[in-house]
Homo-oligomer: 566 residues x 2
């Protein structure tokens, strides 16, 4: 029947099945086919690290619906009316003839399929460094179900003692935690000076400290120069600085490359990131071909610049738009991303949305304000846990540009709040009086996010001069003549303190002990406490008494990423 | 010194101390005085139920800073430079003479204090029903520290066996849980047909079922007519329908009345709610007098109508604005509320933001769309927990008007997301492609909130005809000729089912069993499953095969508030 629309979807992991299912719901009678290179379909690939780490043991949970039905070709046929062919690699797209050629990887046979509309969801491939020894046994990535099986087997066999994880991004950190849970001694190696590049350095440093405190080693500013082996098996890695680390396993997690070759070979346009170019309808340069997921580039909604954002949630949303438009013409749009991301780091969360300070400056935002806020997520009597947030806002418009949050507290809610603030184009002024759900089991009376807005507002109004922990450290290391004021109580000071030459004057005693402060009213004074709330109040008192150069160390001791005396 | 501004704050619970502290940070040299009727200051009153329930045992945690310093007059003097007088009741405001008269409740002495700016934060008083027996021993509220002490003592003494909680709002539910945790047999009595009036009926009913499943009795649509007693002590309550319930304790939680008499007597304007009128600067009808917290009314930002919104978080935000403006003239504003609220209901959360369907219709929104979405908050392999959300949107503009969410899952994040969506004036279209933080430990690939937006979008585009559980129940009870299709698997059906005459046809079998469906293509068919995702797919299949009157029961079995066969 010529009136049955033929839709072919290349790729069956995240965006592909979503596009196919959406297309089906738009038209019960279309012919919809998914061609998938891998043996499995619709894998919950973001769950691999938790399977490897033993958070759950039933492998099938990665492959089945919530009610336990495996998402295999039979499921797709019966429940969705979709033909899904696995181990089927598409080798060529002929846009003129509107056909694709696919190879059955089991038989080697090639076959052609005609399409009315094509949806490319070919995903991405983990990058591998082109260095000696890369093909040794014991070197893997964690991207496919097969990778997950391989690492899970290592966990279950309990033979491997030492491993390295190469790359300190999201996947690297999740893999590090998974292997550490498997009882393996881990070293994480990152070429850049920090982990998790969606965070600014001082935030990433707090995450690094937390990784270390969970008995994983971290090496930054250093890369792998060579994989060392014996009899074809990995025995260690040699770093760029010459250090050799013995290990039996190396997981490479240095990012992914979009799988755009098939599209490129068919003459479809790709962008600067190397990924397939699509418009807001998820349509490629060929109007009959759509693309979605890790193989495309999409606009960053803040900068307007195209980015490669290989996130599972975006793949699903893009797939939904591609599927609907492929079926019934361009009616819905996918506007882009603000690059919201989160990962679990042992019992911490670490997330970000929008622009970091570094990315904001790189994008040309030169007049920005930032702040670091540390506070619990809930009251102490409800066992509140620490959150540290860094907020970035445009000074003139007050617009929120980005937020980063880490800590054992409810990071996910904080990032969701800021993601929505950015989505709504909200300003600091808007956030200062946000109306969020408050009850002691869920938040402070003034939510952590709102408090962060209050502090950045104080800075923007010139009521608070902030200084970062990094700047303080530099001053201390350089022997600069600054007066450091810790405004906590003596009991707190006994238990924990920086030990950088600070003077302890409890907040409640400052007004009586002003004579202990520098006589020179222009002397540089830096106030702080555990989270710098009392530090801020101390600064206001000193300014009220005539000192002109008083700063607050943002986030206080909780944001200090360097070793402490205690 | 005449250049020292004199600020008096009447009330020292939430808004008052916040206003005073903010005023101090604006001016180190002003004279700031808090006059507080109660013996304590800055009590974490929202924490009372958790102290009563034994979530924590250290009473001082309700009264001290995070580092353990009690917020008493000495603390205020030393740390804040604020004079705080407790057990001091302000009896009169003289706006012309700019003085107030206060009575020392310990000595009975009256004293006058002059002010330059006055801030009224007198809070609210729990309503008590004017019915016989209201003064018996054993009847209390849970609003003051003394109430909390009284109820905590009851918990610790373990003598009382039976109690009633009168009122099924936030405080009523929190008190119910607290007393149930104290081992007391509880009956909750609500005059209206439902608990938690910020929820629509069908959502509240799910909460009610959860309260019952925690061994607390719930009586709705009924009130207390009389308190029964012997020798001055409560022995029971008589309900309006004549039922008598024996009990030794009754906690009254039927709402609060703003304490506006002092202001009214001074000639300040009050509004329709009986609370003090303020402008966006939190300034009363007298330019030298500000007010904040439970004693004022503020705009609902959606309807524009003034409301009495006695929430602890708003009190703090309003106090901050009042304190700053009182000190340095009107520079900052508090725009109003979207009436975001949340409470813990045993291991459930229940929250809402914006308008419920009922409130939207009452406010004149006649062209609205609603949807109920049920899904886990996280993947099954991360032990996701159920969330049920009801979303309300304006049909023409697509604007989100309100959201309600309940369940054991992460309700707080969901409500925060929707609160921010409303704050940003976002539409369904915006939410459909929201960029939220995704990783399996924190959410589904398509977050529950985004999925709710997808479903309401499908409804708005006419792709899904929804029907509520209440409408289905009505049809079934009336014996209407509807074909009910449960699209789950037989194993699921064996374990749990409605038993309302439904036909089980698993989603994957529907295309082969179309002959079992009504021959009449206009017959009314209602599809559902556990959460109605498969129900929706089933409906799309049937529509694709020509049935014209196919509906999806929103939220599926998880949103069914009535008894089930299994």
């Amino acid at each position: 029947m010529a009136d049955k629309k033929r839709i072919i979807v290349i790729g069956g992991s995240a965006a592909g099945p979503k596009a196919a299912a959406k297309a089906r719901r738009m038209d019960e009678h279309a012919e919809i086919t998914i061609l998938q290179k891998a043996p499995d379909l619709s894998m919950a690939s973001c769950g691999y690290p938790y399977y490897v780490g033993g958070v759950f043991d039933d492998r099938n949970m990665l492959l089945c619906t919530p009610t336990g039905v495996t998402r295999d070709p039979m499921f797709y046929l019966n429940a969705k009316g979709i033909v899904a062919k696995t181990e089927t690699e598409v080798t060529k797209i002929d846009p003129k003839g509107k056909t694709i050629t696919a190879k059955n990887l089991r038989t080697g046979n090639e076959e052609s399929f005609p399409y009315d509309k094509l949806i490319i969801t070919t995903g991405s491939t983990p990058r591998k460094p082109p260095i000696p020894g890369i093909d040794l046994d014991g070197i893997t990535t964690l991207q496919s179900m097969q990778d997950a099986d391989y690492l899970r087997k290592i966990r279950d066999e309990k033979k491997i003692k030492k491993a390295v994880v190469i790359g300190g991004g999201l996947i690297g950190i999740e893999t590090c935690e998974a292997l550490q849970l498997a009882g393996i001694e881990i070293t994480m190696i990152e070429l850049l000076p920090q982990l998790l590049t969606f965070l600014d350095w001082e935030m990433a440093k707090l995450v690094e400290n937390h990784v270390r405190s969970n008995n994983a080693n971290v090496i930054t500013d250093n890369g792998v120069a060579e994989f060392l082996g014996e009899n074809g098996k990995l025995t260690g890695v040699k770093l760029k600085n010459g250090t050799e680390l013995p290990c039996e396993l190396a997981v490479v997690a240095i990012g992914v490359t979009p799988n755009s070759a098939l599209a490129k070979n068919a003459g479809l346009a790709t962008g600067d990131t190397g990924a397939i170019l699509v418009n807001e309808y998820m349509q490629t340069s060929d109007p009959d071909i759509y693309a979605a997921g890790d193989c495309v580039e999409i606009p960053n909604l803040i900068t307007g610049k195209k980015v490669h954002a290989p996130y599972g949630d975006l793949a699903n949303l893009e797939g939904r738009v591609a599927g609907e438009n492929a079926m019934q013409g361009n009616t819905v749009t996918f506007p882009g991303t603000i690059q919201t991301g989160i990962c679990k780091v042992f019992d911490y969360g670490a997330g970000a949305t929008g622009l970091s300070e570094r990315n904001a400056r790189a994008a040309g935002y030169n007049d920005i304000e930032t702040v670091i806020n540390a506070s619990p997520d809930k009251p102490g009597f409800m066992e509140g846990l620490l959150l540290v947030t860094k907020l970035v806002a445009d000074k003139k418009s007050g617009k929120i540009l980005g937020a980063q949050c880490i800590g054992p507290g409810d990071v996910s809610k904080q990032i969701a709040i800021w993601a929505m603030a950015i989505k709504g184009g909200l300003t600091v002024e808007d956030m200062v009086n946000a109306d969020l759900p408050y009850a002691p089991p869920f938040s402070l009376a003034i939510d952590h996010s709102i408090a962060a807005a209050h502090i950045i507002q104080n800075k923007m109004k010139g009521r608070m001069k902030g200084i970062t922990t990094a700047e303080v450290k530099k001053k201390v290391d350089a022997g600069e003549n600054v007066y450091l004021l810790d405004a906590r109580g003596p009991d707190e000071f006994d238990v924990m303190r920086l030990g950088i030459g600070e003077h302890l004057i409890p907040l409640g005693a400052i007004r009586k002990r002003l004579n202990e402060l520098p006589e020179d009213k222009n002397a540089e004074i830096i106030c702080y406490c555990k989270i710098s709330l009392r530090g801020y109040e101390a600064a206001r008192i000193l300014e009220g008494h005539g000192w002109t150069n008083v700063k607050v160390m943002e986030g206080g001791i909780m944001a200090w990423p360097y070793p402490r005396e205690k």
